[in-house]
């Protein structure tokens, strides 16, 4: 398995290196779909230039990276391309190992269930074979590395690639069962952009499941584990934030990074829902809708955790998707991360209802983004509504994709409990509905 992965890595790095050398790199790094004010490489360079001038990078409203990023690139600015390629490689390898480990567990669990005769007889079709699961880790790495979204993001040197690397390391350490590393990487991801905070729940569920701690509010062991994890998570977050403070000597970065993420002052168009909504918002409703939209991102955590408490990895996938759809400054790099997980759920394909439509819409939208942007900004023959319409459609497609996978997952679980070919009381073939 190592050989195909190495080959894949070489191919991916070659593509990126070739694009870095081409004239496309400048074009890509200006694309609003690929870089947001939070992740643009141009702004990182601007922050470094401000530091050189002796001006605090957070005194202006151009630089919104965290202090650790600026100090990282203070040393690595000449090796930025290698850093971003490395980040992609790390992400891919981490996802590869994650899925490998996860598949192993899935298979083991399935074996136990089969031995205990827990599956209905007609569900044998749904049982996953090691043969079809064998190539899934490689497919995941391939989905990430060869996804045009990832490639664009990497060529634009969007710091989203680094966030993805941190997140994938968090998932890897969680799946491997390393509590401390999981907490540290989660706090790093939270520090980079607030939203990964919601992944806390899935990590807890997974780690408890792995350590056979029942999710029971009356058990002391449950609470003890939560306290342990929270201590590690908050402790490392505290250390990182304090480290940033000492590196910079001021707390200016807090409003400039987190205030910026939460209050959405920069309305530069992107693929998300926020920019046009808040550009057109009535001033006295602004705060209200800001709260609604931000709460919306965090809101799904608890119901999803309750519903998917047996399946924390699927929960991670769902939450990554929700974050990348509803976050304030999304880029295609965020989408690439959750899309890398799609091969893991390849066994759900028979239950997907409108995957063809969604794929078509996603592809069409991706092609139309640059077209309509050109018509609006350069040709002047369209206006902002055209681009806005495409972002709406793109988000609807993503929502349909995610909810479709969620539906398929739930349905498969239902079938695993009650059998695949359900019969009505009168013996005729039954159809399943949500009630």
């Amino acid at each position: 398995m190592a050989a195909p992965l190495t080959l894949l890595l070489i191919v991916a790095v070659t593509i990126r290196a070739a694009l870095y050398r081409s004239s496309l790199a400048d074009l890509i790094s200006e694309r609003v779909e690929v870089v947001s004010p939070l992740t643009a490489w141009k702004r990182v360079v601007e922050g470094l230039a401000l530091l050189d001038l002796g001006v605090s990078p957070y005194s202006g409203d151009v630089f919104h990276e965290t202090p650790l990023i600026i100090y990282l690139f203070h040393f690595l600015v000449d090796y930025a391309e290698i850093t971003f390629m490395l980040a992609d490689v790390i992400t891919a390898v981490a996802l590869y190992l994650t899925v490998k480990e996860y598949n192993k567990q899935v298979f083991r669990k399935q074996k136990f269930a089969l031995e205990a005769d827990r599956y209905p007889l007609d569900c044998l079709e749904l049982i996953r074979s090691p043969k079809e699961m064998f190539y899934i880790p490689l497919k995941v790495a391939m989905f990430y590395l060869l996804n045009p979204f990832t490639i664009l993001s990497c060529v634009a040197k969007s710091t989203c690639g680094l966030n993805n690397a941190v997140l994938s390391l968090f998932i890897l350490s969680t799946v491997k069962g390393n509590v401390l590393l999981s907490a540290i990487f989660l706090s790093l991801a939270t520090y980079q952009s607030i939203y990964p905070l919601t992944l806390c729940a899935s990590a807890l569920l997974y780690l408890m499941q792995r350590q056979y701690i029942p999710v029971n509010f009356r058990r002391a062991s449950f609470w003890w584990f939560i306290v342990q994890y929270a201590f590690m998570y908050l402790g490392s977050l505290f250390v990182i934030v304090c480290l940033s403070f000492f590196l910079l000597g001021s707390w200016d970065f807090l409003p400039s990074v987190y205030g910026f993420i939460l209050s959405v002052p920069d309305l530069t168009p992107n693929i998300g829902l926020f920019w046009y909504f808040f550009a057109e918002m009535f001033e006295h409703f602004r705060l209200f809708f800001l709260c609604v939209f931000q709460i919306n991102v965090f809101f799904y955590t608890i119901p999803l955790s309750i519903k998917l408490k047996e399946h924390p990895v699927f929960l991670i996938f769902m939450q990554l998707a929700v974050i990348s759809i509803f976050k304030s400054y999304p880029t295609v790099g965020d989408i690439a991360l959750y899309m890398a997980f799609l091969p893991v759920w390849s066994h759900l394909h028979r239950f997907l209802r409108n995957i063809f439509l969604v794929c078509c819409v996603l592809l069409t939208c991706s092609a139309l983004f640059p077209v309509l942007w050109h018509l609006w900004i350069y040709a002047g023959s369209a206006n902002s509504n055209f681009y806005y319409a495409i972002t709406l459609l793109f988000n609807v497609a993503q929502i349909l994709l995610v909810s479709d996978y969620f539906y398929a997952f739930l349905r498969r679980e239902h079938h695993l409990c009650y059998g695949l070919y359900l019969k009505r009381k009168d013996g005729s073939e039954a159809t399943l509905v949500l009630k």
């Binding site: 001006v55 005194s59 168009p269 009535f282 001033e283 519903k307 399943l432 509905v433 009630k435």
Partner: protein
Amino acid sequence: MAPHGCSYSALLLIICSVSVFIVTDSQDTTLSGGHHAAAVEDNPQAATEAAEKTSEQPAVEERRWEATEVEEATLHEAAADKQDTPAPETEAPSPVPQPKDDFQEELVIRPLHSGDIYASFQFRTLWETDFMSGNKVSHYRLFPKSLGQVISKFSVRELHISFTQGYWRTMQWGQPFQPAPPGAELWVWFQDSVTDVDGTWKELTNVLSGIFCASLNFIDSTNTVQPSASFKPLGIGNVTDHRFLRYATLPREIVCTENLTPWKKLLPCGSKAGLTVLLKSEKLFHSSFHSQAVHIRPVCQDWQCKTTSWELRQTLNVVFDLHTSGQGKREWSLFKMFSRTLTEACPLASSSKIYIDITDDPQGELFELSPATPLLSQAMVLGDRRTFSVYDLTQPVTFGTVRSLNPLIRWKSSEGDMLRPLLHAERYVAGYGLQTGEIHTLMYNNHPYRSFPVLLLDTVPWYLRLYIHTLTVTSKGKDNKPSYIHYQPSKDRLRPHLLEMLVQLPPNSVTEVTVQFERALLKWTEYTPDPNHGFYVGSSVISSLVPSIVAMDTNITMDRPLFSSFFPCKEESSFFVRVYTEPLLVNLPTPDFSMPYNVICLTCTVVAVGYGSLYNLLTRSFQIEEPSPGLAKRLANIIRRMRGVPPL
């Protein structure tokens, strides 16, 4: 009864005639008194109107030398008399020891090489007083009370305000006497006793907005900066802590009559007498360039600087394009420019003069000036030695026999070459589309062999996000690193970008400063009512000490003695110049302004789709679909339930 009645009537007649006589007599006496008074007033009138009775001239001159105070008072009275207003009570020489204020007016006219005419008015009021001391200044004479109150209320140390319509074309017209950027410009130094500078600044701009009928109230934190080096105090005082300095421009401000009228009201003579009668808005605003300014600063009263006084300098610069409007005839006169001629000086002015620049034509070959004046004056203006013909309006002889002054210049040939201005700058926006752009500033050093440093000040609104790492400064194809950069990045909706740098301009070169920016999408309420017109970016300011033109011609030692010409004279070696570039007009991407409801509905719908589909999956569970019973069966079941019978 009859004779008695007759005598009675005769008596009545006698009484009547006597009374009539007495009345006529008294009338006669009053008439003669009136005549006497008229004779008394005749003299001062002669002093101003001059000319006809030349025999009276020596007597008038004599009085002039005797007591200037008395003469000023009588002059005042004469002026008042002419305007049919009651004469004030200042007829008798007042016992006040010395008037502490002084007013001067002057007009400089310079024919420009392009064929245009540059007229520059200056009115200076000096007042030896202290606005800052505890006791309130309440008695105002020449100094306008409205400005005096502003100075004392807001603890202003210096105030400079200008309103300009049009752009000064340095390459065609040379350097102006008082440079000003298009639109409104305001910069103020506050006293170091002011604690809340921003609050005071906010109040001050609102007050000035009222005084000058201008939109200065649009000055807020988003267009105010604190330049660190470009704007130093022009008056006395060594406070250079730029925390007390505020600078703002409104490049979009339109200047018109409503700004001119309050400006004229600040003058002691208003628009009634003196040079101000020329300031008629219908002509002033029919010009290529119009700039009016007010400068207030503390200055020294004497060379030892024992006492300080406040100087109010009101300037008005205007460039007329007489060449095109005069059907190609190159001649101009005061009447052609202002449709008025001068008949008198402002009676309150201690000096009132017209200077006409004749430097380019010392021998009278290029143009002829009439009426000729014997008075000549030489002055160093902007590093150049200029010669002026002077008309002293306080001298009655100036107005000649027609009692009005209307200087006229008629060109004989259109030759002559203008010396290129040594420092010149221009600016433009490069790039296409509404996403990014690049500001190019070109600075020309036209000096043949000397380089000099310039301070460049750029204020860019926050919605053009500058990327300072893209800043390049190149001269002669080489990188020219600025020796000093002061950069303050913008804060969204709070503070503009401020970029100040010190650049050395090599001799005879063009230095190009470029910086890239990104255009922000604003909220729909933040756009101007005409968003597709674009947004103005104020002029960059280039301040420099430029080597003087006089020091430049070292090998032309025409008139100067040899002993004076070996080392360049220190005083003349450089002069201060401030150059303003063009303001920029930048387009920003716009949202669709008719869409707020639609956008709110559509985006909320998408969020609801997300929420709804997840909610659906989260709260419901899978069940086998039971075929719903028909309507008749359901009705039957309801009835059966009411009857207490088990349903079908």
